[in-house]
């Protein structure tokens, strides 16, 4: 049965207006906090368009896209077999209308500013800013018309884009996304391209000291287009070829791929250079912790918000055992001699935290573990323990890691330790996932009581999860202490726990590749955005929100999680059916 829902014209218009108002206010916010002006100094494409300008243009276009999206949602409130399409005039119209509203907000700002000194209250509203938002026209008629016209046109185009062929839409959206991304990390690209052995023109041709060059932009777009046009066909062909290969050759191919990946991982610090290697190591710290917390939260389902405690115990015990600081420790072990002790100590700490919370679940567990995390930091800060662990002064003179007589120096060398520790943590997680233990955790996560009724010893498995999780965090903490040479209590704030948990969620909880991707996004990206100073966290937050809206299951969800989402899909249209058409033939019943 098909019944086409339709909305009245008035309500369609109202919808577009509403989106326009909403986006317009968001635009004002960006202007008032000073983002637009700050980012005007930074080019997206050298001498063509600044990041400040692209943000404005993207907001304009975004309003059109959003309004058509909202219209489509309104036309299809529940999932029906036949989708009600948004017709072209409405797509253009809604887009244009919402864009006009957004543009009008800017015009309004310009008018108000010409009448009263907005700057007296809002320092960001400078003459320069007015120049930027009017695209260089200032307080003239053109300055009012141009933003409105631009906004209307861009939003109308974006609205239309929403209803055109999917591949066209993908091309445009991906081009914009990748060009922006490449421009944001253009410094990194530049550094990576300009190194001994590479011709000098390589770095100059694609990037400038301030943003991408036109050639660079065109290259990025070309790659995106090529990927969308030829990508599927190439993948198809490759799959077909693979399926005709003999099993032995397929295996060789797999080995080949793995060795290639390994080679790439081994050469990575050389490829990217010193500063990015340092970033890689910082990411590594979180990848290792991510694997550990994934066992506790992702596999065993124990929401631990105090995970930083184990990272801290690992770092502090390594520091105490190895430091050359005269008044602390006095053990002066080598890193390698201390490592097993550190792991054991932290494992015991894991059990100590686990034991009192055995009977807690969900939010209670979260709050109590959060408390444990803070206790760890307070203990580190306390005067009471300061003779042993240095109090607020922390611990200094932690020696560098050495292998034999060779002292490992510099991020490009340390990288290999992080790689090794990460590999160990990955391997442990991977083996646990499909093991009996993994099954027990999974059952426990779903329904503790029933798992118990199946004979799962939940006390043991909870403690095991806490213990293994803590030991993995200790690896990270130990490397962290040795890498920095100095540790302070404030490195172990609740923010660490939150970051690790967030990276699990962003990557897709329960998924091992997701941990890696999540760490790169959450830890790596802010490092790369360092040049944006105080706005870094704002951009980062916006990015996270966008991502979780677009991909609630995470970037690389695990099979189980993907299944769950599918389940919820089905659950919506599932009615507890009274008729069981092909009921078990074993039991014909007369009734």
């Amino acid at each position: 049965m098909i019944h086409v829902r339709d909305l009245s014209q008035a309500s369609k218009l109202r919808l577009a207006l509403k989106i326009g108002l909403f986006v317009g206010i968001a635009m004002q916010y960006l202007i008032f906090v000073g983002i637009i002006e700050t980012f005007h100094d930074r080019f997206l494409i050298k001498d063509v368009i600044s990041i400040g300008e692209i943000i404005m243009l993207l907001v304009f276009a975004g309003s059109g896209y959003l309004s058509v999206w909202a219209l489509k949602k309104a036309l299809n409130p529940v999932h029906e077999e036949v989708e009600v399409p948004v017709r072209r005039p409405w797509a253009v119209g809604s887009g244009a209308l919402s864009g006009l509203v957004v543009g009008a907000f800017i015009a309004l700002l310009v008018i108000v500013n010409s009448v009263i000194e907005v700057r007296d209250v809002f320092v960001s509203i400078s003459p320069d800013l007015i120049q930027i938002v009017t695209f260089g026209r200032g307080e003239t008629l053109a300055g009012l018309v141009i933003p409105m016209a631009l906004s209307t046109i861009l939003a109308a185009i974006a609205g239309t884009l929403y209803i055109v062929r999917a591949d066209v839409r993908r091309t445009v959206v991906l081009s914009v996304v990748w060009v922006t991304f490449a421009a944001l990390i253009s410094d990194l690209i530049r550094v990576s391209l300009s190194r001994p052995g590479f011709p000098v023109f390589l770095s100059r041709i694609f990037t400038s000291s301030n943003g991408l060059t036109v050639v660079g932009t065109v290259t990025v777009v070309a790659v995106v287009v090529a990927w969308i046009v030829f990508g599927p066909a190439v993948q198809e062909k490759w799959k077909a070829r693979k399926s005709t290969m003999s099993p032995a050759r397929q295996r060789n191919l797999r080995y080949g791929q793995w060795s290639l990946l390994l080679l790439l991982l081994l050469l990575l610090p050389l490829i990217v250079g010193v500063f990015p290697s340092e970033v890689l190591n910082n990411i590594g710290i979180f990848i290792i912790m991510g694997f550990g917390l994934n066992i506790v939260v992702g596999m065993a389902g124990l929401l631990d918000l105090g995970y930083v405690a184990f990272f801290a115990v690992g770092a502090y015990s390594m520091a105490v055992l190895t430091t050359l600081q005269p008044d602390i420790g006095g053990f002066e072990l080598t890193f390698w001699a201390a490592l097993p002790i550190v792991i054991i100590i932290t494992g015991i700490a894991g059990l100590l935290v686990g034991a009192p919370v055995l009977r807690m679940r969900g939010d209670y567990l979260a709050i109590v573990t959060l408390g444990f995390g803070e206790i760890a930091r307070f203990l580190a800060l306390s005067d009471w323990l300061s003779p042993f662990i240095g109090g607020a002064q922390g611990i200094i003179k932690i020696p560098k890691i050495a292998i034999g007589a060779t002292v490992l120096r510099g991020p490009q060398v340390l990288y290999f330790l992080f790689l090794a520790a990460g590999a160990v943590a990955y391997f442990i997680s991977w083996r646990l996932k499909d093991s009996r233990t993994g099954r027990a955790w999974m059952a426990m996560r779903e329904d503790e009581k029933v798992a118990e009724a199946m004979g799962v010893n939940t006390v043991y498995y909870k403690l095991l999860a806490f213990g293994i999780g803590a030991m993995i965090a200790s690896l990270s903490g130990a490397l962290f202490a040795a890498k920095l040479g100095t540790i302070y209590p404030h490195s172990f704030s609740v923010l660490v726990s939150i970051t690790v948990l967030s990276l699990l969620i962003v990557g897709g909880i329960g998924s091992l590749p997701g941990v890696i991707v999540g760490a790169f996004v959450l830890v790596g990206l802010p490092e790369l955005l360092r040049e944006f100073g105080e706005f870094r966290l704002l951009m980062y937050g916006a990015l996270l929100i966008t991502m979780m809206i677009l991909r609630p299951e995470g970037i690389l969800p695990s099979v189980e999680r993907a299944r769950e989402l599918r389940k919820e899909d089905r659950a919506q249209d599932e009615v507890y059916s009274l008729d069981e058409p092909t009921a078990a033939p074993a039991t014909p019943s007369g009734d």
């Binding site: 099954r439 059952a443 779903e446 004979g455 009921a583 074993a586």
Partner: protein, 242 residues
């Protein structure tokens, strides 16, 4: 007492508390080997508590619980499952995110005899052919009836000697209830003793050999199923006599 007289499982004068709540009061009952025994009672009468007490998930403070002549009070659930007691929980409570197959694997969690597990898997799937068709489907997407079947199949995967069932008819259409109870009989005929807890007294008594009636934590009636079906008090209170 001679050996023939020994029950498979026997509760004598058991009291169970949840904190201050006295949920079971001086409960004594026998589950005979090879038979179907049922426990009837209204809401909050303590039926589920009885099962939890047997399986070591709620602690009996007084009295004794004997299984095959051995005192099992104080044993862990895992030990009891290993000794051949298994439960189909109230409201089914299958693992909704696991596939049908993974649910069944959890049922045999404590077993290590690969061949035996495989054998039981085949037996269970022939008992519930619908599950075989859906072995890759996620538990949460099964229909209510299928979930009940899965919960039963999962419990059977531990190859129990005694199967405890908590209200298998709950929330199912009459025709499905009939099917489920037919399967219970079949399971019993294959050699598993069954202790079924029910509010649907008619249905339970129609398949049981012996029955107990629980009221606010006390056993108020105990007799053969046939006698209970004609018992006056029973007919008025539970069998919906009109």
């Amino acid at each position: 007492m001679d050996d023939n007289d020994r029950a498979l499982l026997e509760l004598s004068h058991v009291d169970t508390f949840y904190g201050p709540i006295h949920a079971l009061r001086d409960v004594s009952l026998r589950i005979e080997d090879g038979h179907i025994t049922c426990l009837l009672g209204g809401n909050a009468s303590g039926k589920s508590t009885t099962l939890k007490t047997i399986l070591g998930m709620a602690d009996a403070v007084n009295g004794t619980i004997e299984y095959l002549g051995e005192r099992i009070g104080g044993m862990t659930t895992a030990e009891l499952v290993q000794r051949g007691i298994s439960m189909v929980p109230e409201n089914r409570r299958i693992f909704t995110r696991m596939t049908v197959m993974e649910n069944l694997e959890m049922g045999s969690y404590l077993r290590t005899d690969k061949d035996g597990i495989k054998e039981d898997l085949e037996r269970v799937l022939s008992l519930f052919p619908r599950l075989e068709e859906r072995h890759k489907q996620v538990g949460g997407t099964l229909s209510g009836g299928e979930q009940q079947m899965l919960a039963m199949a999962r419990a059977l995967m531990s190859r129990p000697r005694l199967l405890l069932m908590d209200e298998p008819s709950m929330g199912l259409a009459p025709i499905l209830v009939q099917q489920i109870f037919d399967i219970i009989v079949e399971i019993n005929q294959q050699g598993t003793s069954v202790f079924v807890v029910e509010q649907n007294a008619n249905m339970a008594l129609s398949i049981a050999d012996y029955g107990y009636v629980l009221q606010t934590g006390k056993i108020v009636l105990a007799d053969t199923a046939a006698n209970l079906q004609v018992n006056k008090m029973m007919r008025e209170a539970y069998l919906g006599e009109m």
